[in-house]
């Protein structure tokens, strides 16, 4: 509790059944009177835009709607937005939908020229228009993070975080098992690293909730057949709530990424992926991050301030208090390894459980040792 710490989460999370019904009230709170909805073909095919329209019907909010087909649409979207006098943006969808929504927001508020040069928070100080994000899949956190990639250029600012993330089973679309695994492992890695190394109790609070959500849902989801095989409508419905919880965890991981842009697992995961770019089907970003996380914890168990306490959100109160304090760091790492082991047995093609099994040589591991070792800041207790 001595280190200086900052934390900012601009996004309000609205989670649960019928969450869309609360949206008009939130929009009115932001004085958003003419929202512009950006979505994709999959969401439209599932008639999710009609769900949104139904939720806003009683308030007579005029909704504009654009179906995104490719990134080149931005110019069209920009002119449409300006010409029709919209005052806020709703991104109904994940990935490209939300990244385009953020880029559009930048273009509207800072001028289209702004998108020609990458920019950071100091250049993007001004507030943006209200942005509502409604995911249709669990993502990897970049959707709620204060950043966007547009045409290969990166823009970073807390103002790019959505104002509201509406996460509900009602808008979850079928998600392939590989994407579920990627999202869950990515969220787990980010939340665990933030929990174990951050000096901010605010970050730990968010991270703790994110870890609990992943531990609750990832394995049951991984054990279910892939969405294509879920022919029964009831089985698909049953999958939607855990998917929403996983999307919630992903949103939390985005909030954390906004505050800790230099997370080691993220960087190390990217490095591992680059090394094994010949195995894209075997190694997802999320898996690479968790493999790096385990190595990071192994290398830093004596310097990591909160590794033992990590056992609490990874398991439960009884498990945590049943393990003697000095053994808790090892037990936390064992629980993560065990999760990887069970997942490897569950997913159809198996998966590596260590960096070595992923084909990373000891020399390559040594070359990224700075990313796999925690060094406490000077003056830290």
């Amino acid at each position: 509790m001595t280190a200086l710490h900052h934390f900012l989460c601009r996004t309000k999370t609205a989670f649960g059944t019928h969450a869309l019904a609360h949206l008009p009230f939130d929009l009115s709170g932001m004085h958003a009177r003419k929202p512009f909805v950006i979505t994709d073909q999959a969401a439209k095919d599932a008639a999710l835009h009609l769900e949104l329209a139904r939720a806003c019907r009683d308030t007579h909010l005029p909704l504009g709607l654009a179906i995104l087909t490719d990134a080149g649409d931005l110019e069209t979207l920009y002119h449409l937005f300006v010409d029709k006098g919209y005052d806020s943006i709703m991104a109904l969808g994940t990935g490209q939908v939300v990244q385009t929504a953020k880029a559009l927001n930048l273009a509207i508020c800072h001028g289209p020229e702004r998108l020609r040069t990458p920019a950071g928070a100091e250049q993007l100080n001004n507030p943006l228009l209200p942005l509502v994000y409604i995911p249709t899949h669990p993502e990897t956190g970049q959707d709620t993070a204060g950043e966007t990639l547009f045409s290969g250029r990166r823009f970073v600012s807390p103002n790019l975080m959505p104002d509201i993330a509406v996460i509900t089973a009602d808008t979850m679309l079928g998600t392939p098992g590989a994407a579920v695994l990627d999202s869950g492992l990515s969220s787990l890695a980010i939340c665990c690293e933030a929990f174990a190394f951050s000096h901010s109790p605010f970050a730990r609070s968010y991270a703790s909730a994110g870890i609990c959500l992943v531990m609750d849902t990832l394995l049951p989801l991984a054990r279910q057949p892939d969405h294509k095989d879920l022919l029964c409508q009831k089985a698909q419905k049953n999958r939607q709530l855990p998917l929403a919880k996983l999307a919630h965890a992903a949103a939390i991981s985005g909030y954390i990424q906004s505050n800790y842009p230099d997370l080691k697992t993220r960087q190390a995961g990217a490095r591992v992926m680059a090394v094994r770019s010949d195995q894209p089907a075997l190694l997802s970003a999320g898996l690479c991050m968790v493999l790096a996380l385990v190595q990071l914890f192994e290398n830093s168990r004596h310097t990591c301030p909160w590794l033992g306490k990590l056992l609490l959100p990874l398991t439960d109160t009884d498990h945590y208090t049943g393990v003697p304090g000095p053994e808790q760091p090892d037990e936390a790492v064992r629980i993560i390894r065990q999760l990887l082991h069970v997942l490897a047995e569950t997913v159809p093609r198996g998966m590596p459980q260590t960096l070595e099994e992923a084909g990373i040589t000891p020399r390559q591991i040594s070359e990224m040792s700075d990313l796999l070792t925690y060094t406490p800041p000077q003056g830290a207790p």
């Binding site: 509790m1 001595t2 280190a3 200086l4 710490h5 900052h6 934390f7 900012l8 989460c9 601009r10 996004t11 309000k12 999370t13 609205a14 989670f15 649960g16 059944t17 019928h18 969450a19 609360h22 009230f25 009115s28 709170g29 932001m30 004085h31 928070a121 100091e122 100080n125 507030p127 807390p158 509201i164 901010s200 109790p201 605010f202 730990r204 609070s205 968010y206 703790s208 909730a209 609990c212 959500l213 531990m215 609750d216 919880k245 609490l312 109160t317 009884d318 945590y320 208090t321 049943g322 304090g325």
Partner: protein
């Protein structure tokens, strides 16, 4: 992990916490192009020298246009209007609120008037009535209790009409909460104790009340652990800055938790005692907290059992039989009150009867208890309490809290 059918969680205030973090305010204000702030505070804070510390921390990038230190203990409409006039007169473009709950509420009210160019605050009362973002507002709390540095609510008195006006909007949230332990170093021990117990009651009720959710509970548990671990050591060693910072952080975490989950009967009754008897809010919370937990025990047994871990630590939790953990948590709060009573040489009250003015006059006379119970029924927090409460229930709890005797659990309705 139980997840409610629907919940919301949000706090868009930037938290800046740490030793000497006041020195980061110039950079923060500059980034918002707000270099001409007005400082709003009260005379107690000014007398304690905290305005001087703040001003010394501001560098040449910032010109404080005016320092207004006349905020009363209970923020009112007239003060808000006067200060809004001063803001315009001195051509300010930001507000630094330096103080406790009343200063924060006043600053939020002033911000409404100056940002909307209106002279009618009433037009913005209620929920979501603000049309746009307000001027930059930096909150520097000088007590570790209310959590209002991270909430979207302001309460302003309208004494002419004998009412309190409530303002709620996401735009009311301060842009930043600056938690610097220097700001609470001079707090007297009884005030430190009462305000920290106020924060503890926010956190505990956030875990138990009907609006609880995974994020509010996570924040509340962190808050409980920080307050539990640091409160008594800070009372014993008031200049222990890491402990002061931990309490300030705990109060902000608790503020985030309860403002996203709401509070219950501890606040229902505490507001009523404060309103009828003008007893200090934090002290009322401290006394009533174990009674609220006991009253709701049958509905929240497992949630209260979970509280024992952040309160008492892993060893005590593991040593206590699962079926005893909830009651042990209540015992722990009672014991904390007694320890604070001892550590403050009796100034921290452990029952309503013992809440007194500095000259020893009792603030909560027994004959007012029925009136307090009636007043409590009009408090909005009653709807979020796990168990129902009627007048007789309120009176039963107040009577036990008055004498400091255990609540007769056989008389608690099991709805």
């Amino acid at each position: 992990m139980k997840v409610p059918d629907y919940y919301e969680f949000g706090c868009r205030t930037r938290i800046m916490a740490g030793h000497d973090v006041l020195e980061q305010i110039p950079g923060l204000l500059s980034s918002m192009a707000a270099r001409h702030p007005m400082v709003i505070t009260d005379q107690g804070v000014a007398r304690a020298g905290l305005v001087d510390i703040l001003c010394q921390a501001l560098d040449s990038r910032i010109t404080v246009k005016t320092i207004q230190d006349d905020v009363p203990a209970d923020s009112d409409l007239a003060t808000v209007h006067t200060l809004a006039g001063q803001y315009k007169k001195y051509d300010c473009n930001a507000i630094i609120a330096l103080g406790g709950g009343s200063v924060m509420d006043t600053a939020k009210g002033v911000n409404i008037l100056v940002s909307t160019a209106s002279d009618n605050l009433l037009a913005f009362s209620g929920a979501n009535a603000l049309p746009h973002r307000l001027a930059p507002l930096v909150a520097v709390p000088t007590t570790a209790g209310t959590g209002s540095e991270v909430t979207q609510v302001a309460v302003i008195s309208d004494p002419d009409n004998l009412r309190k006006l409530l303002f709620t909007s996401g735009f009311l949230m301060p842009d930043a909460a600056v938690l610097d332990p220097r700001m609470t170093l001079t707090l007297p021990a009884p005030v430190t104790a009462a305000t920290a117990m106020d924060a503890l009651s926010h956190a505990v009720e956030a875990c138990l009340c009907l609006g609880r959710n995974p994020l509010s509970t996570a924040h509340a548990h962190e808050a409980i652990a920080l307050i539990s671990h640091h409160l008594v050591p800070v009372i014993q060693q008031p200049d222990h800055t890491p402990g002061r910072l931990a309490l300030a952080t705990g109060a902000a975490l608790a503020g985030m938790a309860f403002s996203n989950s709401m509070v219950g009967m501890v606040h229902t009754l505490g507001h009523a005692v404060g309103s009828v008897c003008h007893a200090p809010h934090g002290t009322c919370m401290a006394v009533l907290l174990p009674y609220g937990m006991a009253y709701n025990l049958h509905k929240t047994q497992s949630l209260q059992a979970d509280l024992l871990l952040p309160m008492a630590g892993a060893d005590v939790y593991a040593r206590t039989r699962p079926q005893d953990r909830a009651e042990k948590a209540i015992d722990w709060v009672n014991r904390m009150n007694r320890r604070l009573h001892q550590a403050t040489s009796g100034a921290h009250a452990v029952c309503l009867r013992d809440i007194k003015t500095p000259d020893g006059k009792s603030l909560v006379p027994a004959h007012l208890l029925p009136g307090i119970a009636r007043t409590a029924l009009g408090d909005g927090s009653i709807f979020y309490n796990p168990e129902d409460l009627d007048h007789d229930d309120c009176l039963m709890v107040l009577t036990a809290a008055f004498d400091g005797t255990p609540l007769d659990l056989s008389r608690v309705k099991k709805g």
